[in-house]
């Protein structure tokens, strides 16, 4: 058994008072016995899940919304990040008066399997050895993340989700929810996402992984007693970060402007503002993220092909579900372009599922889903309220 942390929650019967129930609230962590059967064939047991809940689960447990986070996201969707001190990553969407509102909804956001914010992953301790799993952690998939979330919902007493909502990799999980648990979700919101990783998506991730592995500090993943491979991880983040932006966005923000100097240095300092910005993004990322987790989660995304999991036909993934769907893409997102969302919409149409889709305009590329987008909020709010 893994030693229980201070915030681990003991099993409590479901009739407990919601206000004192230790399962609910911010910064929760639970150790579930499992086993969790992974797509790779491994049985994972036990499974630690770090999560947060906002709002109150109503009497018939019908107001639960699961929010799925992206590659480098975490459970702090609307609370301050413990390491960076920054506000939650989706306060534009989640909060009082927002489309996802703790006054009306019981909101759950869990750190995904394989990540490094408290949920089981390469950075947590393998109970068999007492050492961090590192690269001996089993390779996981998006569907494994979803199955772990379902285990958490069982623990929280949530049978059927009012909605599952996610952007980017969170959208992949959201899309996998009705495909994996057709009876457990009534509405599904998929933003700036895709039903499969393309060769180009995989190629960019491979650049990032190779950057991590080329860092001499990586040492086959066994860096926990020494310096971490921060240089490699920073380069991985820099490369990935470019894919989250758009050329127009970069031009508007930086152009060819120089960084704190009047002339080019004729050297290899960060002469350009865009270089300085990327270096900062890379370094800041290494303060909050584990290099091995980055390898595992990018792998899970690369393995993602929802059609492949259902006999090669995407529509088959949705035949059993009664869920409603809402898809949103952004016109400058070249990481998961609109065509990917359209392919999902066509499959949902073919499966006869109620689906809404809109391509919104934004200069900010893939990252637009995290930024101010009034139409996005209007769409999500209307879609979630329509569930009757």
């Amino acid at each position: 058994m893994v030693a229980r942390g201070m915030l681990d929650t003991p099993a409590i019967d479901t009739a407990a008072n919601p206000s004192t129930d230790q399962r609910f609230g911010l910064a929760r962590r639970v150790t579930l016995p499992g086993p969790l059967r992974l797509d790779g064939g491994v049985l994972l047991s036990p499974v630690d899940i770090a999560y947060e809940t906002y709002g109150t689960l109503n009497a018939d447990a019908s107001n639960a919304i699961l929010i799925c986070h992206a590659l480098t996201g975490d459970q702090h969707v609307a609370s301050h990040h413990p390491r960076t001190g920054k506000p939650g990553w989706w306060t534009r969407m989640v909060g009082e008066g927002k489309p996802i509102d703790p006054a009306r909804h019981f909101i759950v956001c869990a750190n995904v399997l394989g990540s490094c914010m408290g949920t089981s992953g390469p950075a947590t301790v393998n109970p068999a050895t007492g050492r961090p799993w590192a690269m001996s952690f089993p390779v996981i998939t998006i569907r494994d993340m979803v199955r772990a979330q379902a285990m958490l919902l069982d623990h929280l007493g949530v049978g059927v989700l009012h909605a599952v909502v996610g952007g980017s990799m969170g959208g992949m999980q959201a899309l996998s929810w009705p495909a994996t648990f057709p009876d457990r979700v009534k509405a599904c919101v998929v933003i700036a996402s895709t039903a499969r990783h393309t060769a180009q998506n995989i190629a960019f991730h491979e650049v990032g992984r190779q950057a991590v592995m080329a860092d001499p500090n990586w040492r086959g993943g066994e860096y926990h007693d020494d310096a971490a491979p921060t240089a490699g991880l920073a380069v991985a983040r820099m490369a990935a970060h470019i894919t989250y932006l758009s050329e127009a966005g970069l031009t508007e923000k930086f152009g060819r402007r120089l960084q704190a100097r009047d002339a080019k240095s004729f050297g290899f300092d960060a002469d350009f503002q865009v270089e300085s910005y990327l270096r900062h993004q890379g370094l800041a990322f290494t303060d909050r993220f584990d290099a091995n987790s980055y390898l595992y989660i990018t792998r899970a995304m690369d393995y993602f092909d929802l059609a492949e999991e259902h006999g090669g036909l995407l529509a088959n993934a949705f035949r059993a579900t009664k869920s409603r769907f809402c898809l949103v893409s952004f016109d400058t997102d070249w990481l998961y372009p609109t065509a990917e969302s359209r392919a999902i919409v066509q499959a949902l149409n073919a499966a006869g599922a109620p689906v809404s889709f809109v391509e919104l305009s934004s200069p900010y590329g893939h990252d637009a889903f995290l930024l101010e987008a009034p139409d996005l909020n209007r769409v999500v709010d209307g879609f979630l309220r329509a569930g009757r």
Partner: protein, 195 residues
């Protein structure tokens, strides 16, 4: 609820509890009316993102798309009715859009502004200018209407294609006009078609 006249004609003639695809559904006014008054399972297709957002915000299932491109993805006979209101004349290939309409829906409602209305004829005849009327408010350079059609054009078209006209309504402002003088007197026509 204040529906445009051609839309209320359609709304009054859609069967209770049916499945409807509204192509060019705008902000979803007709769909919402059908859902709320006739228990219809309505889906929409709309080209304008802001309109789609408005329709989804009403709780409707609407897909952003182009009737000229995106109808091909819909299976045969998947709806009781396919509706094309005030969109025919904006399509790049209205004949193909109509084919899809009658393939996807078992019946189709089509409404369009009549380009042979007397105001239009007068404007061309006496003014020598492309008409700008209350039904056709845009100038020649910014109109979305790229395939102007008259009631008689449409009648000839469906006849040539062997399409059956189940019913037709002719409108001048908020009022009905008869089928006989419709070519001259109707600003608007609504046809109910099937194969």
């Amino acid at each position: 609820m204040n529906l445009r006249t051609d839309l209320s004609v359609i709304a009054e003639n859609v069967a209770q509890g049916s499945r409807v695809l509204d192509i060019g559904c705008g902000d979803g006014a007709l769909m919402a009316a059908l859902r709320d008054t006739r228990d219809v399972d309505a889906r929409g297709l709309e080209i304008d993102a802001h309109n789609v957002a408005s329709a989804v915000a009403r709780g409707l299932s609407v897909i952003q798309g182009d009737a000229d491109i995106d109808l091909a993805g819909y299976p045969d006979g998947s709806f009781d009715y396919a509706i094309l209101s005030q969109t025919l004349q904006t399509a790049r290939a209205p004949d193909l859009v109509l084919d899809h309409l009658l393939r996807i829906g078992r019946r189709a409602f089509v409404s369009f502004p009549n380009f042979a209305h007397w105001r239009v004829r007068l404007s061309l005849l006496w003014g020598g200018r492309m008409p700008v009327t209350r039904q056709l408010p845009e100038s020649w350079y910014d109109t979305p209407n790229i395939h102007h059609v008259t009631i008689d054009d449409f009648r000839a078209f469906v006849k040539a294609r062997g399409i059956i006209v189940e019913d037709a309504w002719f409108l001048s402002g908020d009022k009905r006009t008869g089928a006989g003088g419709a070519s001259l007197l109707a600003e608007h026509a609504v046809f109910l078609l099937r194969r």
